[in-house]
């Protein structure tokens, strides 16, 4: 049978062993090295975006103070911050970083199915980052069109970076999509076709499920961005009119005619909404594993969790126009998209319940990863319910384009996934390096980050209730606000600066612990999943023993099984004769 044939084939694969420093650390085909390359690059570029956000906050908290922040610079900060955070940090880190690291280890594979393509994927990603950052060195600087890059504005005078910045931005996105496609094909194929014996889909850890569905979403959603980027490039460079109707700009009539600005918005959000879940689903998956491991209890309702991920993934393709309720599209769409959007709340809520129910009757170890996981749930619930406001079409009308939206999406797809990423790094750092991260520094980092971000974004919703519009360089005299709003803005700015500065603690911890950290051993958290059962830590190239892949006998959540001595049973341990496996893994 083919199944029988395949595993020995995998076991016999000769991994391409590196011989020099360059092939080991730079052009490596080892998924773990590629993962760390993705991680470091993403965190690096993310720090740039963090600085940009601090500059924006300075302007908002203390307007008319800084000479170097004018509207052009401000809108450039906004655009670069948004784009970097969403695409080049979150997408790259969760899929390129954690996807690469965890998929082969958790599925019991030697590597990705096409390691060479995987290696190229990283270097193309790196190129896209270079092109993106080059924006700051081209004449006119980066584009200031906002991360949504809405035409006509994005390619017309009156927007910063209209000559070069928009070209580097669109070019960089196109390159990123190529990189993502190469990586994504690998992830999906590896999960589908290269799992080890016994690792059925319904035994996979939820991290892998989340990354899997997110990657599928990416492969189907990024094409829309790719196509709209090409069309906008053509509009900008050779004067086609895809997105450009007849326009009188700055008193001059332009040569465009007949295009549709709304077409771009549809294409963009057909990508943009699944993109939210491309970021969220891996975070959902990872946080499930963190909670289960550190609560020493199986994840509650595993099958429900899997199907919720799948359902969210499918639904995410038919909700995109909820970003466009007041865009001028035909209002009848509002009925359909409000309904689909609120339906998506049901599987999402189920996930939240299951996380909290996992804590019920558990034995909760409040380790640093667990703290981040708990903080994620709180933050995500806040971000999720405010999403219901914005998804419910009529409620969106007064709130859209106000600070309520800013607060909502930062809670739900900014802070939430970042908290998971931090938790995941604290959790898997021992596997990546063999060293534990420092606990005290971890606690400091956690509390400042969690409480700080909550103080930044929770009150921001109320600015939105007041009606303060977003993307304003300065409010100036505005009829609806008084000095209390200014005070609130200053408070938020101060909190943001503190949170920003304290990220240095995290970076320091990463470096310090690498050299001085405690040795972790193979399985410091006493976890069940395969990556903790490798013969070496950090795992070698090829992950497992020569000619022998692990065999999986049970699902990934056998914690505190009655009758077992330890409170965890690794997936590689055979079932006892009569021991009934949980239904979910039959």
């Amino acid at each position: 049978m083919a199944v029988e044939a395949q595993v020995p084939y995998q076991e016999a694969i000769e991994v391409h062993h590196p011989h020099s420093w360059v092939t080991k650390y730079w052009f490596s085909q080892d998924h773990k090295v590629i993962a760390i390359q993705y991680g470091i690059t993403a965190i690096g570029v993310g720090l740039v975006a963090l600085v940009l956000s601090a500059l924006m906050r300075l302007q908002l908290g203390f307007p008319d103070t800084f000479d170097f922040i004018d509207p052009e610079a401000y809108y450039q900060f906004i655009t670069m911050h948004g784009m970097i955070m969403v695409i080049y940090l979150l997408t790259a880190l969760l899929l390129g970083g954690f996807g690469n690291y965890l998929i082969p280890l958790m599925c019991g594979a030697r590597d990705m199915v096409f390691p060479f393509v995987n290696m190229i994927s990283y270097h193309v990603y790196f190129l896209s980052v270079i092109v993106l950052l080059a924006s700051y060195f081209v004449p006119g600087g980066p584009t200031g069109a906002g991360w949504t890059l809405y035409p006509p504005q994005a390619i017309l005078e009156g927007t910063p970076g209209v000559d070069w910045g928009i070209l580097t931005m669109l070019g960089s996105l196109a390159i990123f999509i190529v990189a993502f496609t190469m990586g994504g094909l690998n992830y999906v194929t590896t999960i589908l076709q290269a799992r080890t014996r016994g690792m059925t889909l319904m035994r996979m850890p939820l991290s892998v499920w989340g990354i899997f569905i997110a990657t599928v979403l990416g492969l189907l959603a990024f094409p829309a961005l790719f196509v709209s980027a090409i069309m906008m490039l053509l509009d900008k460079t050779i004067g086609t009119s895809f997105f450009m109707p007849a326009i009188s700009s700055m008193g001059e009539t332009l040569d465009y005619s007949g295009g549709s600005p709304l077409l771009f918005q549809h294409l963009f959000w057909f990508f943009g909404h699944p993109e939210v879940y491309i970021v969220a689903l891996p975070a959902f998956g990872i946080v499930s594993d963190l909670i289960s491991t550190h609560a020493r209890k199986n994840i509650f309702g595993y099958r429900m969790m899997v199907w919720a991920i799948v359902a969210i993934g499918v639904l995410s393709f038919i909700v995109w126009a909820h970003h466009m309720y007041v865009s001028g599209m035909h209002p009848w769409f509002g009925f359909f998209f409000a309904t689909t959007t609120l339906i998506i709340a049901v599987p999402t809520a189920i996930k939240v319940y299951n996380w909290t129910l996992t804590l019920w009757r558990a034995n909760i170890h409040l380790t640093v990863p667990m703290l981040f996981a708990i903080a994620f749930v709180i933050t995500f619930v806040m971000g999720g319910i405010t999403g219901l406001f914005l998804g419910n079409v009529i409620v969106d009308v007064p709130l859209s384009d106000t600070y309520f939206v800013v607060a909502h999406f930062h809670m739900v797809m900014g802070v939430s996934p970042i908290l998971v990423i931090f938790g995941a790094i604290y959790h898997w750092y021992p596997k990546m390096t063999g060293k534990m991260l420092n606990d005290t520094l971890g606690h400091i980092h956690f509390w400042v980050t969690f409480l700080g971000t909550y103080i930044i974004y929770y009150p921001m919703h109320y600015l939105g209730f007041v009606g303060v519009p977003r993307r304003y360089f300065a409010n100036g005299e505005m009829a609806i606000i008084d000095s209390s709003v200014e005070m609130l803005n200053q408070t938020i700015t101060v909190a943001a600066l503190i949170v920003g500065i304290f990220q240095a603690v995290f970076i320091w911890n990463l470096i310090y612990s690498y050299f001085r950290g405690k040795d972790s051993g193979h399985n410091p958290w006493k976890a069940t999943t395969l990556e903790w059962q490798t013969p070496e830590t950090p795992p070698r190239h090829g992950n497992w023993e020569d000619k022998k892949l692990p065999t999986v006998h049970r699902w990934a959540y056998d914690y505190s099984v009655p009758g077992e001595e330890d409170d965890f049973v690794p997936q590689t341990v055979p079932q006892k004769a009569v021991q009934a496996e949980p239904q979910s893994a039959t």
Partner: protein
């Protein structure tokens, strides 16, 4: 333990913050109380869910914190519980969605008696058009837009002639009469947003979008742009004044129609010369300006700008602030131009005078000024020639001390202090990017080099 307490504080603190917060919706001034009701329903369902989930987590974290000898329960799933939770959630979601969709249906469905109002967005101003007596708006096309036809109307189209054009950002509306707002944009996306009305919609170039509302409370409200439209986005303001019927009729009758602008008299230079005698005393015989008398140069300035400033003095948008000494001198002078013909005549005469660049009197660091001018360039153009498209006057070759003085006035709130003076307020926001007198001198020095 500590963790549970801090989390409890976070959850209860959020509730407390909500109760004590001074920040909430502005008082509603339209018929959309139902939107507020939908927000209210959503708020309570979501708020209760947040508190319940939060408190449950806090309790679990406290109760099941790690203890020696404690072992977690083994419970992979609980079908009954999961079904119950699904059903309860679905009920909650339907409870929010159903009223929401009903109100949306109202929002989409414009009442038959609603009168039309066209709102036109452009970088970075609002203007408005009313259909006139025939109740029809004439055809408009962005390609027909010129300095004299800012709405891009078709003079051949008979329905356009009675259209009332409000080429400034202050609009009046009668109270308690439903309005169907038709949105159009000349250039990029904008969004007509009056927080007190709750309703909003994007204006998209190349198409017409709509929404409707009924103003229910007399007063003056600020219009904001809620869709990023370029570097001047935050300065794109307007004003809506909701009047009682009589006041509204009075205002309406004073507005110009498209037909009026087509029939605008060509200025008579000779008659203008006679009227200009009053102006010449300060502005000089050649309209070259006079620093000693605080009178700026007028030649070389475009007709639409001169027309607008004369109107601004007449309407009291300028020359009314008590610290605006010279503006207050100007206001009675303008009154001598008692009708539109007189205004056109005097403008025609000014345009017949030779345009020689004003001498430089302000000194500053032009190189630094060039960098600062980056903030001005989009509207006033790279060569300082101004643009009717952005409603920005010419700067190059005009009197420099006057520009410096006006920048000071903008910064000090002496000019642009009235809510209706949206263009003045725009300059207030822009001028605040120049920090200190030196910066003003520098940017003016740079303008002198253009």
């Amino acid at each position: 333990m500590t963790t549970a307490i801090i989390l409890l504080i976070v959850v209860l603190g959020s509730v407390l913050f909500n109760m004590l917060s001074p920040w909430w919706f502005t008082e509603i001034a339209s018929n959309w109380g139902n939107i507020d009701f939908a927000v209210f329903v959503t708020f309570w369902i979501c708020g209760v869910a947040f508190v319940l989930v939060g408190l449950f987590m806090v309790y679990a974290i406290w109760k099941y914190r790690r203890r020696d000898g404690q072992r977690a329960a083994y419970e992979p799933e609980n079908k009954r519980l999961e079904w119950w939770l699904t059903i309860v959630t679905t009920v909650g979601v339907v409870g929010m969605l159903a009223p929401g969709l009903v109100v949306w249906e109202e929002y989409v469905d414009v009442p038959d008696e609603a009168t039309q109002l066209e709102v036109v967005g452009q970088q970075w101003n609002w203007s408005y058009r009313l259909p006139g007596e025939d109740g029809l708006l004439g055809a408009a096309d962005a390609r027909r837009i010129t300095a004299d036809n800012p709405f891009g109307l078709d003079s051949e189209d008979p329905t356009s002639h009675d259209d009332v054009l409000i080429a400034q950002a202050t609009l009046h509306l009668p109270i308690d009469r439903p309005v169907k707002v038709l949105l159009r944009s000349k250039d990029v996306l904008h969004d007509f947003y009056v927080p007190e009305f709750r309703a909003k919609m994007d204006a998209v170039p190349g198409m017409i979008s709509y929404f409707w509302f009924t103003p229910t409370k007399a007063g003056t409200y600020e219009v904001l742009c809620a869709e990023l439209c370029g570097v001047g986005h935050h300065t794109m303001r307007g004003t809506v004044v909701v009047n009682e019927k009589e006041d509204y009729e009075a205002w309406l009758s004073s507005q110009q129609t498209f037909g009026d602008t087509l029939a605008r008299p060509a200025g008579d230079v000779a008659a203008g010369q006679a009227a200009y005698v009053v102006c010449a005393a300060c502005h000089g015989a050649q309209a070259e300006g006079n620093v000693a008398l605080n009178a700026p140069k007028l030649t070389g300035q475009s007709a639409w700008y001169l027309r607008r400033q004369i109107a601004a003095y007449k309407q009291g948008l300028r020359g009314t602030h008590e610290d605006d000494e010279f503006g207050r001198q100007m206001a009675p002078m303008v009154a001598t131009l008692f009708d539109q013909t007189a205004v056109e005549n005097v403008i025609a005469y000014i345009h017949s005078l030779p345009d020689t660049p004003a001498p430089a009197t302000v000194s500053g660091d032009a190189a630094r000024g060039q960098a600062l001018y980056r903030g001005c360039v989009v509207c006033h153009r790279a060569d300082g020639s101004g643009s009717h498209g952005t409603l920005a006057p010419r700067l190059a070759g005009m009197t420099d001390w006057y520009m410096a003085q006006q920048l000071h006035n903008f910064q000090a709130g002496i000019r642009g202090h009235l809510m209706e003076d949206t263009l003045g307020r725009q300059m207030v926001l822009m001028s605040k990017q120049l920090h200190g007198d030196e910066a003003i001198d520098d940017v003016v020095a740079y303008i002198n080099t253009l």
